[in-house]
Amino acid sequence: MRTVNLIFILGWLLPVLPLQDYSKAREAMVRTQIEARGVKDPATLAAMRKVQRHKFVGPAQVTDAYDDNPLPIGYGQTISQPYIVAYMTENVKPKPGFTVLEIGTGSGYQAAVLAEIVNKVYTVEIIGELGKQAATRLKSLNYKNIEVKVADGYHGWKEHAPYDAIIVTAAAEYIPPPLKEQLKDGGRMIIPIGSPYLTQQLMLIEKNGNKYRTTSLIPVRFVPFKRSQ
């Protein structure tokens, strides 16, 4: 009987034990997945070190939270690979006084990372359940400078515009005209291109008066693929 009890207790304890190592896992994530791939912005790195990613995923994904992968969060959505979050953050060049708009709250992780750096983050989620979950989560983690709204991200969040930067976390086949209107002159918008598991390409949009310039960024250490060796 004692043996059975022991097995039972161990069975409950085992999944909890790795909790002690999350800060180490986070540090390792920043070092091996983010810094090693060239992200240098100190504010971004500090934010990635601070935000507890394992609190933004479901119980089944907790042990994988710091892996070098995107993870499913339900409703066909994912929490992006840590490196992508860091790369997107770095590329909007966030500063302490900034007001940032995020389209696609998802788990709320990207908003939390931004909130560690900028003044205010407004984030819009179209899927009601995800939006509510993220709002509750961010509140419980004491993020006071993030506001979550459940709405169609196409329209942005006009009341708080213009924004210094806009991050669109869900891939879009077009750039909604209201978003570029809500971007400050000289502001930067970043959008991923590709399926959730294939986020290889990020698009940077820079506003200069009435003109826009896009740059397709490649967030992986890519060796030109022509085989010449």
Binding site: P72, E173, I193, Y197, F225, K226
Partner: protein, 800 residues
């Protein structure tokens, strides 16, 4: 050997035919269901394992031959009704929340592999029981195998047609239940009514449940990653309309936040309209163009796809894969007077003509607009009109996709297709084709190569004067023109680029800095590769580039197949192993599926060899002869289906036609074989005839089909009948003759021989799909000929 009584024999033949109808149609139905809840490729993985039920039945028969044959009269009705019961149980279990798998999570959650395996095993059961019933009959009545094999093949042929007919009337989830009824009916036909009440009561219960399920189908929950699921997550989304059809389940979804504007220019400042959208088998088919004749703008005019209209007004326009009509309405908006729209999906076309006509201002009913339901290549072959513009669909998927279409024939993107289009152009006409920008670069490079080779073939010496391409942040649109671009054309394209923040990729007289004025690219090798393909050493690029970018041809019409095996390690280094899985998913799944089936099949074939009582002479002959027949037959069947898609202009009809005619003709051959003596000389002569016929097909089938492609429909059907039935009649003879020969030489080998044939058939179906992509149709037909040749030569191994 038992000889059944007259009436029983006929009932047994009828039951065999019914069971075969149910089994073939069930296979099609399961592929439909799994394609809907998951993707076609995973449906294939599940079904190919399930079909190994035939091989497993052979193994069981080998191991327990005497016991199974001794109780065959009781077992046959049990197995047939059991097969029907399992058809129901497998569907119920597979779609239950407990066993439902999500293929998108396979590479990130190990549990999904277990669920995939469980699904395969569920579906294996009906095939195993059904095949066991067929096998027992074949072995027990081997001297009359010709007749029973005829029943089996004729039933299979009818089953293929029946599946297509059922798909037109019932929801996918209801169809297996109808087929289960047929299998139960087969069981009832051969039931010995000694103590009927128990059996009848049980069967009645089953029938009642099946009837309930046909009326109230089991819930089908789609993968959360399918585009339909994601769209249904949008606020106020609903399925407004759904219609089953031979092409799949068509569903129309409306949602408040559903907008479609592919690669829209950043100069666009209007509201992007809300659309409804069409989904086919849960996959995105296209938006329903919410266009109205009085609209002040057309969305596509703010994309690179407007280039052909920037050059000149186009009066006569041909739109291939017109879908829900976005390019058609654009052409009308741009002043076209005649628009021919070709859309092979009859179900969608009909909806747009009728129920959905109100949504796009009856676009397809407008004067000057003509909708054709045929495969674009068939239309191109039979068209006798010249066009100012031939517009193709947008190639690839946003962001590059996950390679799910790698195994799909795309006859409208082959070199020959572009030549056909070129020949239909007016003197000043253009062909326009667009692609999503992807990374790593694939689609646009293959398009450049294809268009460059097309221009070469037309005799144009400097392709730079006839090819232009405009790039946005998301798409690139190519235009090839019969006459060289004029200074006016070039100026118009430059103005277009400046107005809409696009960049020229190719225009005559292009300066280097012009290419990235508005849309920069971090990896600028894109331009180096593009230039090399257009004017540099194209062959070297084909050889050295990490992906397969040589243009598709009619013999290898797989435009979206980019994977090169030798590049896999480097891809994994660059992108990470998990990403690579998604980069070329379609091809990898097919390869994985082939490997696992081969492994399982080899095991099934080998198991009986370890049982002493099954050991006997002529194992070598049995293995080679029946493997050769299984492989040769299946390879030819798959290639004929693929080749006749182009010929018939419709994949569903082509598949149903080829399977049905092949099976019926082979059934006739099998029936005729009862008059022949299973003598080595006769068997070898038949096999040599098949070998020679297939050798002829290797070299002349494609050219012949191309030659007669533009003939009237009834002549095409007559020619098709001869081409399919000709070899099939002969191919129906060696199997029953072989089993009869086996019965004389080493009867113990009979079940093993039948099992080998089943296993190798399944392996070959999987192999054929891979081989046609890599080596082309002709090579696969040649391989089929070689397999028949091997079977012929194996006859020399017969001892005793």
């Amino acid at each position: 050997m038992n000889k059944p009584g007259f009436s029983y024999r006929h009932r047994l033949m009828a039951a065999m035919a019914l069971l075969s109808i149910a089994l073939i149609a069930y296979q099609v139905a399961i592929i439909q269901i799994l394609s809907y809840v998951q993707w076609y490729h995973f449906a294939n993985v599940v079904i190919s394992i399930a079909l190994l039920g035939f091989g497993a039945a052979g193994t069981l028969l080998s191991l327990f031959r005497n016991r199974l044959l001794k109780h065959s009269d009781k077992l046959l009705p049990l197995l047939m009704t059991g097969c029907g019961l399992m058809m129901v149980v497998a569907v119920e279990l597979s779609l239950s929340s407990l066993a439902r798998f999500d293929s998108y999570l396979l590479f990130s959650a190990r549990l999904q592999w277990l669920k995939l395996l469980a699904n395969s095993l569920f579906y294996l059961l009906p095939f195993l029981l059904g095949a066991l019933a067929l096998g027992i009959v074949f072995i027990k009545y081997v001297q009359e195998i010709g007749n029973f094999y005829f029943s089996n093949l004729a039933g299979s042929g009818i089953g293929a047609l029946f599946a297509a007919v059922l798909a037109g009337y019932l929801l996918p989830a209801s169809i297996p239940y109808v087929l289960a009824l047929i299998a139960v009916g087969a069981g009832l036909l051969v039931m010995q009514f000694k103590r009927p009440w128990y059996s009848i009561a049980l069967i009645l219960l089953l029938v009642l449940f099946i009837a309930y399920r046909i009326n109230t189908p089991v819930t089908t929950t789609l993968s959360q990653y399918k585009s339909l699921s994601r769209t249904l997550n949008l606020p106020a989304s609903r399925i407004a309309l759904q219609k089953p059809g031979a092409y799949g389940l068509v569903q129309v979804v409306s949602a408040d936040a559903l907008r479609y504007a592919p690669g829209l220019s950043l100069a666009f400042n209007n509201e992007v309209p809300v659309n409804s959208a069409i989904f086919n088998n849960g996959d995105w088919f296209g938006p329903i163009d919410s266009w109205h004749a009085s609209d002040s703008f057309h969305l596509l005019d703010y994309t690179t796809m407007a280039v052909p209209f920037v050059l000149k007004k186009r009066n006569k326009v041909l739109v291939l894969y017109a879908g829900s009509g976005l390019h058609v309405s654009q052409a009308i908006r741009q002043g076209a007077s005649e628009v021919d729209a070709v859309e092979p999906h009859r179900g969608v076309g009909q909806l747009l003509l009728d129920e959905l006509a109100g949504m796009n201002d009856s676009l397809y009913r407008r004067p000057g607009v003509q909708l054709y339901h045929t495969e674009p290549r068939s239309f191109l072959s039979s068209a006798n009109k010249k066009y100012d513009l031939i517009q193709l669909h947008l190639v690839g998927a946003f962001g590059g996709g996950v390679g799910l279409y790698a195994m799909r024939e795309e006859y409208s993107l082959t070199r020959q297709a572009f030549m056909n289009m070129w020949n239909l152009l007016e003197e000043d006409g253009v062909i326009s084709v667009s692609a999503w920008m992807d990374y790593p670069y694939r689609n646009s490079l293959k398009l450049t190569a294809t268009l460059a080779e097309t221009l070469d073939e037309t005799g144009i010496t400097d392709p730079r004067l006839h090819l232009a391409a405009i790039r946005s942040w998301a798409t690139v649109t190519y235009v090839i023109k019969k006459t060289a671009f004029s200074a006016q054309d070039i100026a118009a394209m430059r103005t277009f680029c400046n107005d809409y923040f696009f960049d020229p990729l190719f225009i005559p007289g292009l300066s280097r800095g012009e290419r990235t004025l508005y849309n920069g690219i971090s990896d600028s090798t894109f331009f180096v590769y593009q230039d090399e393909l257009l004017t540099g050493d194209r062959e070297k690029m084909y050889r050295e580039y990490g992906f397969h970018i040589r243009p598709a041809t009619d013999d290898k019409p797989y435009f979206s197949q980019f994977l090169r095996w030798k590049s896999l390690p480097r891809l994994a280094d660059n992108f990470g192993s998990q990403t690579v899985s998604f980069l070329e998913l379609g091809w990898l799944i097919a390869a994985l599926s082939f490997l696992q089936i081969t492994l399982l099949a080899v095991l099934l074939i080998m198991v009986p060899l370890f049982k002493p009582s099954t050991r006997g002479r002529n194992k070598g002959w049995t293995l080679i002869y029946f493997s050769g027949l299984g492989a040769g037959y299946m390879l030819l069947e798959i290639v004929l289906i693929q080749q006749f898609i182009l010929f018939f202009g419709n994949p569903v009809y082509a598949t149903a036609f080829v399977i049905c005619i092949m099976m019926l003709a082979s059934g006739a051959g099998s029936y005729y074989s009862t008059r022949l003596v299973p003598d080595r000389g006769i068997m070898q002569r038949i096999l040599v005839m098949i070998f020679l016929l297939l050798l002829l097909y290797t070299f002349f089938l494609s050219p012949l089909l191309n030659k007669v492609d533009s003939y009237p429909g009834f002549i095409k059907i007559a020619i098709s009948l001869v081409l399919v039935a000709g070899p099939a009649i002969l191919m129906g003879m060696p199997f029953p003759l072989g089993l009869r020969k086996q019965a004389v030489k080493e009867e113990k080998n009979l079940p093993w021989a039948w099992g080998i044939n089943g296993c190798v058939s399944v392996i070959s179906a999987s192999l054929a799909a891979l081989l046609t992509v890599e080596a082309g149709f002709a090579a696969v037909i040649l391989l089929a000929a070689i397999f028949y040749g091997l079977s012929m030569l194996s006859m020399y191994l017969i001892r005793g």
